[in-house]
Every structure is written in structure tokens, then in C-alpha cells.
């Protein structure tokens, strides 16, 4: 055997099924063949790759190597033996690194920094998304060269697909001995969506070959994940801006009373509740916060938690709020942008609403709402009248007028059934928190955080509220106070663990046993 024979170039594509990995592989094969390379590509097709993680593998023997004979190509990538790894998504880049495909001595890693969340991440009751930053950091350390930017965005801007941007990034990175013209010729020869693909290719090429250097590694341009050089703008209260006098008064109150680290969040909360109802409601919000910025508290965590959750609780979503947000002109502008509507095209929207008896009664005057909800017969009657799924065409007149009318009920919201209920519940919650102070700061914090359980609509909201109330009830019955913090924390986390409440029930019965 010849110890100094030529080597093939080895390239793997880590992709998600349906992302166009085979198109990319075909372009690369065609490009290499154009330069008289002998190429072999393999993949796994079929149901095993539907939307799942999959690997394409390509080996390319340079023409000068072919004098040594007929190459024997491998069908699998071997860890530590790859020249180029292309990943169409950040987590897949991480998976490729984890499999050992990226090594500092030789591998160029070309990856898109965008995330396509896996089902497990996105179906969490809270925030189940994984930390992409770690992958970026590790990628920068283990790759010989790391070209990484948001290629999904580049594809979107050029109305192309990510495979063309990836090909452009590969070309721009100059990892392979092929010229831009070679790659472009392959796209042209393919014949499908040529112009869009070339545009995507150009975008990828430009970003990859004009990188900003971090050490000896090339890391991205405009991706906020990668970009650690721009410091965030320091926060300033809008005291110099032209705002209504009533508002300015409240902003001054924040400046005077709220400690600076919390000002931004409190201002945001204020903004939310004023937008939700009116200036008076904003005043109520700030006055409710009064009791939580006492200087004897050890830190600002409680104030932050209450400020955030109180704003959310005070701006609970009722039909009036939904109707108002759905009819604002800003929303229509956003929709037009989102679907990239162009001149000469029309846009229509349909809203999916299904008010239950509870939602209908929520907006009725408190006593009427309570009366209907208290009577089985009336409940049934209202259900029959309203309890259907409705598709409201919100930019045709009947639909718009209906929503507009609903939104205008805002001025009577304070007298509505739900408002009275919510107001009562908020007060109980706040008092409960306050009762823990100053002695039991951590417990106060835990109780405040339990409000995170109350979100969503319909059944989801009812379920969350039910779990919240169960925790509060449990707290009332708890004998010892020392363990209360841990108890509430355990229950709160269990309540968020799964929808069916398996973990929550388990946690509850365990606690009852130990206390029983």
C-alpha cells in the first residue's frame, strides 16, 4: 500500500428531516463533480427522518488522487475524521459536536445559529427551551473554524430556503477548493427555483466571507446570540418625553419611590395596566406595590416578582381585552408585515374565539354574572346561545363592528363580574404575601411566584387557578412554618411539571403523608 496516497475530503450535513438536506447534498456533489472529483454521498431516507435529526455524508476524492486507483469510500462519518460539518440548525450543530464529528485539528463547522425547538422543549408548561449559548461557546472552542449566523433569517430575507444559504456559507468560508462560480453553476444546473436559491446563496456567501474574528475563529455578524460586543442601552425613565401630565406624575412616583434596579420593570407594569384600563388603574397598581419596597427587605426579588405578576394579574385577558387588541391598527400592520403582503394583494383575517358561559358572564355586571353562573338553567341557556366556536372575520364589517363594540365595553369593566372576582383574589394574594413580612421573606417570595400558575384561558386557566388555590389551602393547613418555603416551592414546581397534574398530585400526597 501507498502511505502517501491522497485523501478524500469528508463532509457531513447534520439536518432536520424536511429541511432540504438532500438538496444541499446534491448541490455539493454536483459542484465537486464539476471539478472532476470522484464523489460518493449517502443518506438515510424514509420515515426515520421525518422532521427528526438526520445525517448526510459526502466523500470527495480530488482528481489528482484518482491516479492511485479506484477510491474506496466510506458510508459513515467517523468521529475525528471530518473536514467540514454543516448544520442547518444550532441544536443539530451541538449534536454533531457531541458525536465527535467536530475536532479542533481539522473540522470547519458551518452552522446556522437559529433554533428549531424540539417537541420536548416547546411543549413544556413554562420555559423548556435549551440554552443555545453553550453550543455557540463549545462550537467556537472545538471547531478549527466556526462560521455561524442566523441562516434561517437570511433565507427569509431572500425568500429562499436555508439550504441555499448554507451552500453560500460553505462557499464563502472557502473550506473547499471550489470557486463561487462552481457552486452557482450547480444551482443553475439543478433548474429549480434558481433565482431564489442564488439570492440565498449570495446572502450566505457574503456573511460567511466577511466574518468578525474571535481568536482564530470566525463568528457571525448580526446574530444577537453571537454578538457580545454591544452593551445594552442603559435604562432611563421617560421623564423628558412628551407624555400626559397624569402619566408623568406616576413616572415621578416611580423615580422617587422605586429602587433603580426595579424601575424598568415597574414602568413596564404600569404601562401594561394603563393600557389595559386607565390612569387610575395605574395609580392602583403603584399603590399596591407600596408595601413591597420596604427597605428592611433583604433584596429586590420580592418587589420584582410582585411587580411583574401583579401587572399580569391586573391585566387578565377578558373578551374586552381580546377584542381591543384584535382591532388595533398596529396589529393589522404587524400581520401585513408577517405574511409579507405586497402591493396588489389583499389580506383577510379570521379570529378563532370560543367564549364559554364563564367568559360571557365575565363581562356582564357583577351581580347579573353571578346570578347566571349560579343558575344551572341560565348557564345552559347562555351556553346554547353563545357557547359555540366562532370564526370572526375581523376585517369585514360585521366581524370588526362586533369586536369594536366588545372593546368599547372597557369603560364598564370595573363593574363586571370577572373584575370583581379578580380584584378580590388579587387582594387576598397580596395580603397573604404581606402577612409573611418582615419575618418570612422567602415564603413571601414563594407565594408571590405561585401566581405564575395562573395563566391561559378556559380550562388551562381554571386548572392553573385550581392548583394555585390548592397550594394556598395547603399553606393554611400547614402546621410548621420552617418547611413552608420548601413546601410551596416543591408544589409550585410540581404544578408546572405536567398538564395532567400527575406530579402535582404525587407531591401533594407525599406532603400529606409526611404531615399526617
Amino acid at each position: 500500500m501507498n502511505d502517501h496516497s491522497h485523501h478524500p475530503i469528508k463532509l457531513a450535513i447534520a439536518a432536520i428531516g424536511g429541511q432540504g438536506g438532500s438538496v444541499l447534498a446534491n448541490w455539493i456533489v454536483a459542484t465537486a463533480e464539476r471539478r472532476a472529483y470522484q464523489v460518493q454521498a449517502t443518506s438515510v431516507a424514509g420515515v426515520a427522518q421525518r422532521t427528526g435529526a438526520t445525517i448526510y455524508y459526502i466523500e470527495m476524492m480530488p482528481p489528482e488522487g484518482l491516479v492511485d486507483g479506484e477510491p474506496v469510500f466510506a458510508l459513515y462519518p467517523v468521529p475525528g475524521d471530518l473536514d467540514v460539518v454543516i448544520a442547518g440548525e444550532l441544536l443539530e450543530a451541538g449534536r454533531a459536536i457531541q458525536r465527535g464529528f467536530v475536532t479542533p485539528d481539522r473540522t470547519a463547522l458551518i452552522a446556522s445559529s437559529h433554533r428549531v425547538y424540539s417537541t420536548i422543549e416547546k411543549s413544556s408548561l413554562g420555559d423548556g427551551t435549551l440554552d443555545g449559548q453553550v453550543i455557540l461557546e463549545v462550537g467556537a472552542k472545538v471547531a478549527r473554524r466556526f462560521v455561524c449566523f442566523d441562516m434561517a433569517q437570511a433565507a427569509d430575507h431572500t425568500q429562499s430556503v436555508i439550504s441555499s444559504v448554507l451552500l453560500g456559507a460553505l462557499a464563502g468560508s472557502a473550506c473547499l477548493p471550489f470557486s463561487r462560480k462552481d457552486y452557482e453553476a450547480s444551482i443553475r444546473a439543478d433548474g429549480r427555483a434558481v433565482n431564489a436559491s442564488l439570492a440565498g446563496f449570495s446572502a450566505g456567501f457574503a456573511q460567511a466571507c466577511a466574518p468578525k474574528s474571535v481568536g482564530n475563529l470566525d463568528i457571525t455578524l448580526n446574530d444577537p446570540l453571537c454578538d457580545d460586543t454591544t452593551p445594552p442601552e442603559p435604562f432611563k425613565l421617560p421623564l423628558d418625553e412628551p407624555v400626559a401630565a397624569e402619566i408623568l406624575e406616576l413616572v415621578y412616583k416611580i423615580e422617587a419611590e422605586i429602587p433603580p434596579p426595579c424601575q424598568e420593570l415597574v414602568l413596564e407594569g404600569l404601562r401594561r395596566v394603563v393600557d389595559y384600563q386607565d390612569v387610575d388603574y395605574g395609580k392602583l397598581y403603584l399603590s399596591r406595590l407600596d408595601r413591597f419596597h420596604a427597605p428592611e427587605n433583604p433584596d429586590w426579588r420580592l418587589l420584582m416578582a410582585v411587580a411583574r405578576l401583579l401587572a399580569l394579574r391586573m391585566s387578565y385577558e377578558d373578551t374586552v381585552r381580546v377584542a381591543e387588541l384584535k382591532t388595533r391598527p398596529a396589529r393589522i400592520r404587524r400581520l401585513r408585515q408577517e405574511v409579507k403582503i405586497s402591493a396588489g394583494q389583499l389580506l383577510y383575517t379570521t379570529e378563532f374565539m370560543r367564549p364559554r358561559v364563564e367568559e360571557v358572564c365575565a363581562t356582564l355586571p357583577a351581580r347579573l354574572g353571578a346570578y347566571i353562573l349560579g343558575s344551572a338553567r341560565l348557564r345552559a341557556a347562555v351556553s346554547v346561545l353563545f357557547g359555540r366556536g366562532r370564526k370572526i372575520k375581523s376585517n369585514r364589517l360585521p366581524g370588526f363592528l362586533l369586536l369594536y363594540l366588545l372593546a368599547s365595553l372597557k369603560r364598564w369593566r370595573r363593574g363586571s363580574y370577572r373584575f370583581v372576582q379578580e380584584d378580590k383574589q388579587i387582594n387576598v394574594w397580596l395580603e397573604r404575601i404581606q402577612a409573611c413580612l418582615p419575618g418570612q421573606y422567602d415564603l413571601a417570595l414563594e407565594i408571590a411566584r405561585c401566581a405564575d400558575l395562573i395563566k391561559g384561558y378556559g380550562d388551562t386557566h381554571a386548572r392553573g387557578l385550581d392548583r394555585f388555590n390548592t397550594i394556598m389551602k395547603h399553606l393554611n393547613g400547614a402546621v410548621s412554618t420552617g418547611d413552608s418555603v420548601e413546601t410551596v416551592r416543591t408544589l409550585r414546581r410540581a404544578a408546572l411539571a405536567d398538564e395532567e397534574g400527575v406530579a402535582f398530585t404525587r407531591a401533594l400526597s407525599k406532603l400529606n403523608q409526611t404531615q399526617g
Binding site: S123, E268, E351, L397
Partner: protein, 720 residues
């Protein structure tokens, strides 16, 4: 129409001597069949040989198969395909069939055993897509066992197109020389490998099917009935085996590669040759062109083995390494027997140094080979190539990789965007919320993805079309009924009889949901009897409901899959009705992957032609989404994802619908049926609107803007 079209590629089937063929492995096999003068072909789709069926179907549509007098059928099942080979029993007709193995071989084994018993006159070739290792979707087993039990020869060619196509042609001759059917095994990546080989001219079959039909032949000795069946067994040993051995030896189907270190040797299954060579190259024992320091004996035929070849390869060798993938280690056992009988004391390593179970990747072989060389020839390891794995396993790498552990989540395959199977599982999930957990018997097909989050539905899967039969023990013991699932593919494969007929005959009371999406979707969108598309070479549009009623089911409902409320109502009724007898719900809607492939180019050309086109997609209002993700847990659509909110008050990411949305409508249905939240909306984009569209849009937007300005004036006063 299948998911992937080979309309352009099949033209390569017309290449002749002097041309170079370039393309996918599976297309090369088809070319080799034509070069062998095959008279008929059949098979059942399934990865990794689905594309072989697609190539043949496209070649048939373009008349290429007719040019060479080849009859091609999309068989109803692997059993049907295997039975087709009966045409080669009495006539010198060459026939080939193909399927996914071992599952397809399981189904086909009745016909295969009969075929192998009586033996064949014309060459009978079975092309096996060995679905083993990464990318496989089935249980991990070897086809080797079937070859041995029925005495069918097993070819395992080196995975390059030249060897594969040569072995296809030899396979027919070997079959004819030994009157035995032959299996040609292709591993997953070999099926999808692209490469090149020197083409030969296609041949017309020596005898045509019409000649056979017009002059029927009958030979009582070839029929599997006593006493002939006893004769067959004797014949297998005394005549067919020696004939096969003689053919294999004479044509040198197995290959010997010399190497200087001849006190040791490596024996490898042909299909693993390239992986072995790479492992050797990385250890510095071979180059990239097949030149090796160690002698290699390549078994392109793994059954039968050639005793003399083996003994002669091992002569004067201290030890050999047996590279055999999968278990049991049939080859290693056979080698031990052969060598001991021959009085050879050459040691055999294999399952002691290489794993007994699991795929042999480059890394696995490299590790095993390194251990072998450390024991037997450590001097060969001195110049391990420096190019590989310098960073692998060192401290930096290990430390970095550990950091990644919490950042990586598994990404199993799942339902496509807009898939019409999801609503069925949404309905079941919602029903379970009401009725409590249910026993669900799964089947084979995309619908099996219900096992994974977010649906978590399905308790067992027993095989293609066997979803209904898989629940048959649970019947009438409780008020709670079990649910069976079945795809349309599985239904026509065998589910109609094994599931539905079985349930009728046994007076079962269970519910079977048949998912009718117009294609055998999981295998790549091939047409089946109930497909609604017109197919020029197949008879389609035979409704499932009619077949179900035909075997005696009274309670049958055909429901549009996306109609969630109706689906849930029907499910609930089926599980609670007092009516006796099997219940069947046919959940019908076209596979979205295939529909988009069909519709998208059409829409694009309509838009370009100035026709009025409405495109729908869904969205979520970010201000209204509270980030509880209950919609995601009920939908499971890839296009319904999450993003981090700009709103500092919201700590959970909010739901959003990405650009891949195809507007299937499921989001809206879920929002309604599950009383989720009002944040979902649908947008209709009207391309090339008519004058009426523009007129109505004009006055609407005038009135709407007027009202909006009115309320904004008030609101903006307090915006800061």
C-alpha cells in the same frame, strides 16, 4: 404519485455498453435488472428500498419497462411479491422482487419457504433492503436466519455500484445454476449511495411471459406436496448446495485482497468492506484505494460458505478477525466448525473483540480492529495515521462535550407540518382527559409517531396492518373499550382480513381507527387501492369504507380528519355506544407532505398566470398568548413553535406559527374544540384580487380606519 419523482433519472435506464452510469444505488440495481434480462418484477415499498419501487413505477409510466418486455407489479404485500416468483418455478423466466427486511421477509416467509423447497428454473432474485442500524425504523434482526432456514443463497455485495450491479447479474445465474432463489442484501446507506459503474446493454428476457402462458409446463416434482417435499430436502443438500458452491468458486464471487502481514487475516461481509477499509486506513493499515497490509477475504456471498476457500485463506495464519454485523454470530460459528473440521488451529476473533449487537460503524470497527492488532500484530499499529482523531477523547474535547450534555435534546422523527393524522391524536388526547387513559394498540406507519410527545398515545405495535389484531384479547371484559389504529397502507396489506374480518368473525366490540391519507405515506407516498388520485398504471379510488362494510362491519363512519369536533364526537360514540359489533372510523384527509408537493407548483403557476388565488396560514397574537403552550401539547405541528417574548412581563416563551404553515386549519379547530385561547387567527392572502375584491376591501378599510382612528386618538394620549 410517490413522494420523490424519478421521472428524469429513469432515462438513465436506457444507457448501454460504453456509457458510464452515475446515480443512486437503487437506480443502479434497476439498471442491472434490465441488463440481466428480467421478465417480471414485484415488491412492496418500505425504506430503504422504497425508491426501487418508485424507480420501477416511474420507468413503467414512461414505457421503459415495456421496451424490454418487463412486467412490473406493486404487490399487495411482501407475501404477494414472494408468491409472484412462482413464475420462475416451471419456466426459465427471470424474476426479481424487493422489500424491506426483516419485516418484509417475515411477511413473505410462507411463500419463500415454498419457493425454496421446490426450487426454481428461471433465476429468482429477492432484493432485500436490510433496515438495520442508524436510520432504521424496525426491530434489529438479521435476514441471514431466513436464508439459512429455507436455504436461499444470500449475497452481501461490497457497497459500490460496480460490485452491486455485477452481483445482481450473477445472482440470477447462481439461482439458475443451483435451482435456488437468491437474496441480494443491501444495507440502508448502500441503497442511497450515489456512485458510478460502466453500463452494459439491456437484454430482453430469453423467454417471454406470453410464451410461458401459451405453452404451460407442469412438473409434479416441483410442487410442495408429499412425497416431493421430502425429495426437495434431500435435493437441497445433495444437488443444489454443491451446484451453488461450484458456481461461486468458479466465478470468484468472494474476493481475496492480499496483504503483506499474512500471519493474520480479516474476513468481512461484503457490505461492511468499505467501513472496514476506512477503519484500517485510519489505523494506518490500508490506504484509500483498497491496498491493505493485512489479507482480507470478502464474503460477497455470506450463505453458503465455501469450505475450501476458507481453509485455504486461513492456512498458515495465526489468527483471523471475523467482521460480522448483528447477532447471532452465524458466520463466526460456521467458520469455527469449518476450520476445526479441517484440523486448522487458526484462532478466530470476532464477537470477543467486536460488539455482538449493534451497527458496525467506522468507529466501532476501528476500536475492534485496534484490539485485534494489539493482540496479534502490534507492529502494524506503529504508524497510525496522524490525520484522524487528534482531538477526539482528549481533555479539552471531553470537557467541552460535557458542557453540551444539558444543551442537547433528542429529536425523534415526528408528524410533518399540517399532517392530517395529528387531529386524530388530538381528539384521542382530549377524550382521555374526559374518560381517563385508554389502551391504544398502534400499527406501523407515520401514525406511530403518536407514541412520542406531545401525544404520548399508543401501548404496543405488533406489525404492519396488525393494529386491530393487536388489541383482540381485550374485548368485552370491561366497559372500557380498547382503541386500535391502522393506516390505509396496513389496511390493504393485511389489516382488512387480520384486523377487520377478524373482529367481525369474533363478534368483537372494539374500535378501529383507519387513517386514510390517500397514500402509503410512511414508505414515501406510493399509491394504494384507496388513493384518490388517478394513476395511469394502477386502479385506485376503492373506498376503505366500502371494503369494511363488505366484510360485515355495520358501524362505520368516515370523518374528515381535520374536523376535530366531529372526530371527537364519533370517537366518544364508538367507545360508549350500546350497539354491538366492531366499530370503524375512517379518518380521511390527504397526506399533507404529498398534497403540498402536488398543490404548491400549481398555486405558483396560477399566481404567475394572474389567476385569483387565496393562500391561508395561521398565526398567534403575541400580546394575547400567555405562554402556557397547551396548544402545542394538543397540536404537535412542527410549524407551531415557541419564541422568546419581547414582553418583559412574560417569562415563558410564547407560541408562534412559523413560515412553514400550510394553513391546514388544525390550530383553529384545536382552539375551538379545546376552548384554548383566542390568540389564534387565520390569514387569507388574496393574490390577483378581482375588481369586486378590491372594491369591497376599499370601503371596508375606509370605515374600519375611521373607527380605529377614533379610538386610537383617545388611547394614544396615555401611551408612554
Amino acid at each position: 404519485m410517490a413522494e420523490r419523482s424519478f421521472a428524469k433519472e429513469v432515462l438513465k435506464l436506457r444507457l448501454g455498453a460504453g456509457d458510464e452510469f452515475r446515480g443512486e444505488g437503487i437506480l443502479a440495481v434497476t439498471k442491472a435488472l434490465l441488463q440481466s434480462g428480467v421478465a417480471y418484477v414485484g415488491g412492496y415499498q418500505g425504506a430503504p428500498i422504497s425508491h426501487l419501487m418508485d424507480v420501477l413505477a416511474d420507468a413503467q409510466k414512461q414505457g421503459i419497462l415495456d421496451e424490454w418486455g418487463v412486467h412490473f407489479e406493486s404487490s399487495a404485500s411482501e407475501a404477494a411479491a414472494a408468491a409472484m416468483l412462482a413464475a420462475s418455478v416451471n419456466y426459465p423466466l427471470r424474476g426479481a422482487v424487493t422489500w424491506k427486511s426483516t419485516v418484509g421477509t417475515n411477511v413473505a416467509s410462507d411463500a419463500l419457504a415454498n419457493l425454496a423447497s421446490g426450487g426454481v428454473t428461471g433465476g429468482a432474485l429477492i432484493i432485500i433492503g436490510e433496515d438495520y442500524g442508524e436510520g432504521s425504523s424496525i426491530m434489529q434482526e438479521r435476514t441471514h436466519a431466513f436464508a439459512m432456514k429455507s436455504q436461499i443463497w444470500l449475497l452481501d455485495p461490497r457497497p459500490n455500484l460496480t460490485t452491486i450491479t455485477n452481483l445482481v447479474e450473477h445472482g440470477f445465474s447462481l439461482s439458475e445454476a443451483s435451482h435456488t432463489p437468491v437474496m441480494l442484501e443491501l444495507r440502508i446507506r448502500a441503497c442511497h449511495v450515489n456512485g458510478r459503474f460502466a453500463a452494459r446493454d439491456n437484454k430482453k428476457p430469453a423467454m417471454t411471459l406470453s410464451q410461458a402462458l401459451e405453452t404451460p409446463r407442469r412438473n409434479l416434482d416441483r410442487i410442495v406436496l408429499p412425497p416431493a417435499s421430502f425429495l426437495h430436502e434431500q435435493e437441497k443438500i445433495s444437488e443444489r448446495w454443491p451446484a451453488a458452491v461450484a458456481y461461486i468458486r468458479e466465478h470468484q464471487l468472494n474476493e481475496l485482497f492480499a496483504g503483506a502481514a499474512d500471519q493474520i487475516g480479516i474476513v468481512v461481509q461484503g457490505g461492511l468492506y468499505n467501513t472496514l477499509l476506512r477503519a484500517m486506513a485510519l489505523l494506518g493499515c490500508a490506504d484509500y484505494f483498497g491496498n491493505s497490509k493485512i489479507p482480507i477475504y470478502v464474503l460477497n456471498v455470506t450463505y453458503p460458505l465455501l469450505d475450501e476457500e476458507i481453509v485455504s485463506f486461513c492456512r498458515n495464519k495465526e489468527a483471523i478477525l471475523m467482521v460480522e454485523e448483528g447477532q447471532p454470530d452465524y458466520l463466526e460459528q460456521a467458520f469455527n466448525t469449518i476450520l476445526r473440521r479441517a484440523g486448522s488451529d487458526t484462532a478466530i476473533s470476532g464477537s470477543d473483540l467486536l460488539p455482538l449487537a449493534g451497527e458496525y460503524t467506522g468507529q466501532v470497527l476501528m476500536d475492534g480492529l485496534r484490539r485485534f492488532l494489539q493482540q496479534r500484530a502490534p507492529q502494524l499499529l506503529q504508524n497510525i495515521a496522524t490525520q484522524v482523531g487528534e482531538g477526539v477523547g482528549d481533555e479539552l474535547q471531553t470537557e467541552q462535550l460535557e458542557k453540551l450534555v444539558p444543551a442537547i435534546a433528542p429529536r425523534p422523527p415526528g408528524f410533518c407540518t399540517g399532517c392530517p393524522e395529528r387531529p386524530v391524536f388530538t381528539a384521542i388526547k382530549m377524550l382521555q382527559e374526559k374518560m381517563g387513559p385508554l389502551h391504544v394498540s398502534g400499527d406501523i406507519g407515520c401514525h406511530l409517531f403518536s407514541i412520542y410527545p406531545p401525544f404520548n398515545i399508543g401501548n404496543t405495535t405488533m406489525g404492519y396492518g396488525l393494529g386491530a389484531a393487536g388489541a383482540s384479547a381485550f374485548d368485552g371484559q370491561s366497559n372500557r373499550r380498547a382503541i386500535s389504529l391502522m393506516g390505509d397502507g396496513g389496511f390493504w396489506h393485511n389489516g382488512l382480513t387480520s384486523g377487520i374480518g377478524n373482529a367481525v368473525f369474533n363478534q368483537s366490540d372494539r374500535l378501529t381507527i383507519i387513517i386514510d391519507n390517500d397514500y402509503s405515506a410512511a414508505t414515501g407516498g406510493q399509491d394504494i387501492l384507496s388513493s384518490s388520485a388517478h394513476n395511469s398504471t394502477r386502479s385506485t379510488r376503492h373506498p376503505i369504507e366500502k371494503a369494511v362494510r363488505g366484510v360485515g362491519v355495520k358501524w362505520v363512519r368516515t370523518v374528515r380528519s381535520y374536523n376535530l369536533q366531529q372526530m371527537r364526537a364519533n370517537l366518544e360514540e364508538a367507545l360508549t355506544t350500546k350497539e354491538k359489533g366492531p366499530k370503524v372510523i375512517v379518518a380521511q384527509s390527504e397526506c399533507m407532505l404529498n398534497k403540498q408537493r402536488r398543490v404548491r407548483p400549481q398555486l405558483a403557476s396560477d399566481i404567475a398566470a394572474g389567476k385569483r388565488v387565496v393562500r391561508e396560514r395561521f398565526g398567534v397574537d403575541p400580546d394575547l398568548c400567555t405562554g402556557d403552550h397547551s396548544c402545542i401539547r394538543l397540536s404537535g405541528c412542527p410549524s407551531l413553535s415557541v419564541k422568546h417574548s419581547d414582553d418583559p412581563l412574560k417569562t415563558s416563551p410564547i407560541a408562534f406559527v412559523d413560515n412553514s404553515c400550510v394553513g391546514c386549519g388544525h390550530c383553529g379547530e384545536v382552539a375551538h374544540a379545546a376552548v384554548l385561547c383566542p390568540s389564534f387567527y387565520k390569514t387569507d392572502i388574496v393574490f390577483n384580487p378581482s375588481w369586486w375584491d378590491r372594491f369591497t376591501a376599499g370601503y371596508r378599510s375606509w370605515i374600519i380606519s375611521f373607527l380605529q382612528r377614533r379610538s386610537e386618538k383617545k388611547r394614544l394620549k396615555y401611551v408612554f
